[in-house]
């Protein structure tokens, strides 16, 4: 099967589940493996959910590897108020017969990247602990990564704190390692994450569909409508996958980025330098300057994203 | 109409000069005194510029006091690339014969606030070193301050660093003291500061005015246009004064604000919690961001409204 080779790193997660459905069903993508990281829910729950959702998508042949259980420095905290105790909004999926592979996620990725001559794409949808550990233990893989698509960070307001988005805040040190790695990165920030949404009627129509994937997707979206008490439900992480499918539908900007590690109120903030060049002259050596750069998704065509989601999950 | 009593705390500064001109000429404001702080330029130059600008505005009776010459903890960093070496964009004013008061700015404010029966408004247009020192040294006068209008901070990008605005970054500890004091604050942030602007043709007509204050304002604005080669330039701090004159021209929200003191990249950032309230409840355990104060933040302005206010009051 042709298609772009990608690995997904997930903390499934309602919207990670949507992303997995989209990636597994899209003919343009060839999912070579899924690595699990603790985040929305603890690692073993992430593994279970990932196996089960891949099963729904008829994609049980895709290897799933268990990764880092905790962030590099901090203790874990989870987001069960958003994703439910089971991490899938309370939805019970039939248990997949598959199991995780023997290798640790970091070993798996290192081995896979080493084995191919072509470069790989990694789509990271949870805290960046696996990716950072991979880069630190196997720094040579960096040159073999064509693109790293990350769901994380925020230009404007954060979510888990006023300035920080959940994935980055869970493991700011890991994010710092990744942004300083010189891997070409596309950052799908919280500011655009929230925009691709479906209303209750559309969600109900999905649930009523004959297509199993579409129906499950609808149920996952419904769980968001219930938990978040909003009128519309967003596809979240699935939008990051969609960036690979319809790159013409996004607007990006390249910006300097660093992660704030020690701020009392700002730990985990993705610090961007958006100043016009003339103003940035004003900074004498009063503060540490920003060391990384990344391409940030600033805007997207919402309709195109909604369409590609609905069209592809039934393929 | 009773003019409102205000004190100005300045680091004159091209746009502080514009603010002084506006406040001095407006019949709706009564300047009880101007205190000087190091900021754009060192405090002695701030004093000199302030005296000369007040003279030019026909307000040499207004007492001027010299204040703090360095921030509470930080090293002083000035902004001569913006304001020019003399702090007035290179504009030479006639030297005023007036002298600053014999007392320190903080002592001056203490006396003034103790003596009066009505409360006062302080308009702080530079780093908050003087105000913070006043609050810490003389907490008993705090109740006499009905509002502090602060030019400082940013919700979006900063100026002197990617996330911090100059006044707050110069003395973050002072800002933290002021924001935590419980005194009602109106925060005129960098995001709106840059919006209230005039273009070259308008500025030229100011410069050609027969009104001294308007002409001086025009020259000050022109110096900024020339320095940066832009088609328009903002009235800066004068916008904060214009807000007092035209409260209808601003949109302000009561928001939780904290000053980041320890960030590697974010020291001096005004951290504003803009999340919708139910999302803000999601904080867990030790992730809880403690935002101790809410203050009134000017999140948007009616640009033309403030431009008109500036022109109207300056010409009086």
């Amino acid at each position: 099967m042709s298609g772009r080779n990608i690995f997904l790193d997930v903390d499934t997660g309602v919207d990670d589940a949507l992303a997995l459905l989209l990636a597994a069903r899209s003919p343009q993508l060839n999912v070579k493996g899924v690595t699990c990281v603790a985040g929305n829910v603890p690692i073993d729950r992430v593994v279970r959910n990932t196996l089960d959702i891949l099963n729904v998508a008829d994609a049980s042949h895709i290897p799933v590897a268990r990764g880092m259980e905790f962030p590099l420095l901090e203790n874990m905290f989870n987001a069960t108020e958003i994703h439910g105790e089971n991490g899938l909004g309370g939805i019970d999926l039939p248990a997949s017969g598959s199991t995780v592979i023997d290798k640790h996620a970091v070993e798996f990725l290192a081995g896979e990247i080493d084995n191919t001559s072509e470069k790989v794409t990694i789509v990271a949808l949870g805290p960046l602990t696996n990716i950072a550990t991979l880069f630190r233990i196997y720094p040579n893989v960096v040159s073999s990564i064509e693109q790293l698509v990350i769901m994380g960070g925020a230009i404007g307001s954060g979510n888990i704190t006023s300035t920080a988005e959940f994935n980055i805040r869970q493991d700011p040190e890991a994010a710092d390692v990744v942004f300083n790695s010189d891997v070409p990165t596309l950052l799908y920030v919280w500011d655009v994450f929230t925009r691709v949404r479906f209303d209750k009627q559309e969600v109900d129509e999905m649930i009523a569909s004959d297509n199993n994937c579409k129906s499950i997707a609808g149920k996952l979206l419904l769980s968001y409508l219930t938990t978040k008490k909003e009128d519309t439900a967003g596809i979240g992480d699935a939008g990051a996958v969609a960036c690979l499918l319809i790159p013409e539908a996004i607007t990006t900007a390249v910006m300097p980025i660093s992660v704030e590690l020690i701020g009392e109120h700002t730990r985990g903030q993705t610090v961007f330098d958006q100043r016009k060049r003339k103003l940035s002259r004003l900074q004498p050596k009063i503060q540490k300057s920003i060391s990384g750069t990344t391409e940030v998704v600033m805007d997207l065509d919402v309709e195109s994203f909604r369409n590609v989601f609905v069209d592809n999950i039934v393929k | 109409m009773i003019p409102r009593n205000i004190f100005l705390d300045v680091d004159t500064g091209v746009d502080d000069a514009l603010a002084l001109l506006l406040a001095a000429r407006s019949p709706n404001l009564n300047i009880k005194g101007v205190t000087c702080v190091s900021g754009n330029v060192p405090v002695d130059l701030v004093v000199r510029n302030t005296l000369d600008v007040l003279e030019a505005a026909g307000a040499s009776h207004v007492p001027v006091a010299r204040g703090m010459d360095v921030p509470l903890l930080e090293t002083m960093v000035n902004a001569a690339e913006i304001h020019g070496k003399n702090g007035l964009g290179g504009i030479e004013l006639a030297k005023s014969a007036s002298e600053p008061l014999n007392v320190h700015a903080v002592e001056f404010l203490r006396r003034e606030l103790t003596d009066v029966s009505d409360s006062m408004t302080i308009v702080a247009l530079g780093p908050l070193t003087n105000i913070a020192t006043l609050i810490r040294a003389y907490p008993e006068v705090v109740s006499k301050i009905d509002e502090i209008v602060v030019m400082g901070g940013a919700i979006g990008p900063g100026n002197v660093t990617p996330t911090a605005e100059f006044n707050i970054r110069q003395d973050p500890e002072a800002a933290d003291i002021v924001f935590g004091s419980g005194i009602p604050i109106l925060l005129y942030i960098w995001d709106v500061f840059i919006k209230v602007a005039f273009v070259r043709s308008e500025i030229e007509s100011f410069s050609n005015s027969s009104n001294n204050s308007v002409a001086l304002a025009g020259n000050l604005l022109m110096s900024m246009l020339d320095r940066f080669g832009r088609p328009e330039t903002s009235i800066g701090d004068a916008g904060a004064v214009a807000c007092i004159l035209n409260a209808n021209a601003i949109t302000a929200k009561q928001l939780p604000v904290a000053v980041e003191l320890s960030g590697k990249y974010t020291r001096g950032q005004t951290v504003v919690d803009q999340r919708p309230p139910d999302l803000a409840d999601l904080e867990e355990g030790d992730l809880q961001v403690v935002m101790p104060n809410t203050i009134r933040v000017v999140v948007d302005v009616d640009v033309n409204g403030l431009r008109d206010t500036f022109v109207e009051h300056l010409g009086k």
Binding site: M68, L72, H104, V106, T133, R136, I137, Y138, D176, V177 | -
Partner: protein
């Protein structure tokens, strides 16, 4: 015999530590970490040591190239450009064992009961292993660490080199709840090798001892140039603690690693206040005094065994 893995960045004192350990402990492997010098140099030095010590059945495994988050700093002013200057040692022919140090540590710990770790360089490998395999917490019996100080630092006023190079890694390790013996500068400064020790080693009739005498001569030279009274035997102290614990006096203390201080980054804060004032329970044993004569007797007697 106690099964150990030595994690090191040779380093003159690392060399002595390895030679000391190899005759008294069951050294399952030597893992290297970027520290005194670059990972390439310290790894090459580790291979040199197993060769001139005739210890080539101990596998050497290469580890982390740099600290977790910070840029690497080296200590060539102490150890020379190669990281182990002073002796004529041929380029090693022994091969490294395949794989990464982190995985060697994890695999060995999972398959060996009562494994003891002997970290004597920056703690990058250990931290990565602990994070990657949380089960290590229950598999590792003890860590005898050379690092930190309950008094003053060396690389900075407050911090000892190993901890300073990767304070975040040290923080992970110190918070791991695995039992730790900490041999810091406050202890190792009591064990200074001087010319008379070198002379005694020079008298030993084996090639290993001769190399050691050459290395110590260099190390004594740089130490004296930096106004020390002798060449401090840092890393061997952590080994001595495992061979003969009665040689060293330990005190239980609460220790944390400072990771955000401007002037105190990398400091090990040991709470030494009188018992009644202390607020937190002890989390490790900190070495406070050592019988220096007994130490040198052990070291020199061991070198005779080569």
């Amino acid at each position: 015999m106690t099964s150990v893995i030595i994690d090191c960045d040779p380093g003159h004192d690392d060399a002595l530590a390895i030679l000391l350990a190899a005759k008294h402990l069951d050294v399952l492997g030597i893992t290297t970490v970027s520290g005194n010098e670059s990972i390439d140099n310290v790894t090459s030095n580790a291979l040199k040591i197993v060769e001139f010590g005739n210890l080539t059945d101990i596998p050497v495994i290469r580890g982390a190239e740099g600290p977790l988050f910070r840029d690497a700093v080296y200590a060539s002013h102490v150890h020379g450009k190669s990281g182990m200057d002073g002796a004529e040692i041929p380029e090693p022919t022994t091969k490294l064992q395949e794989g990464h140090a982190v995985d060697f540590i994890i695999d060995t710990a999972m398959s060996t009961s009562d494994l003891v770790l002997l970290p004597m360089g920056p703690l990058t490998n250990i931290a990565l292993a602990l994070r990657k395999e949380p089960k290590l917490r229950d598999r590792i019996k003890l860590m005898s660490i050379m690092g930190g100080s309950s008094t003053s630092g060396n690389y900075t006023a407050a911090a000892e080199f190993n901890i300073y190079v990767d304070a975040e890694a040290a923080d992970i390790v110190f918070r791991s709840e695995i039992p730790i013996l900490m041999s810091g500068l406050n202890l190792t400064r009591q064990v200074l090798a001087k010319q008379e020790h070198i002379d005694e080693i020079r008298e030993i009739n084996n090639s290993t001892a001769q190399v050691v005498a050459d290395l110590l001569t260099f190390y004594l030279g740089t130490s004296t140039r930096h106004s020390h009274d002798g060449a401090a035997m840092h890393d061997p102290c952590a080994v001595a603690a495992m061979i003969d614990p009665t040689m060293i006096e330990f005190e239980p203390m609460h220790v944390v690693v400072e990771t955000t201080g401007t002037h105190t980054y990398g400091m090990t804060l040991c709470d030494v206040r009188p018992g009644s004032v202390k607020s937190k329970p002890a989390n490790m044993e900190v070495a406070v005094t050592i019988d220096s004569d007994r130490f040198f007797k052990l070291l020199i007697d061991t070198l005779r065994m080569y």
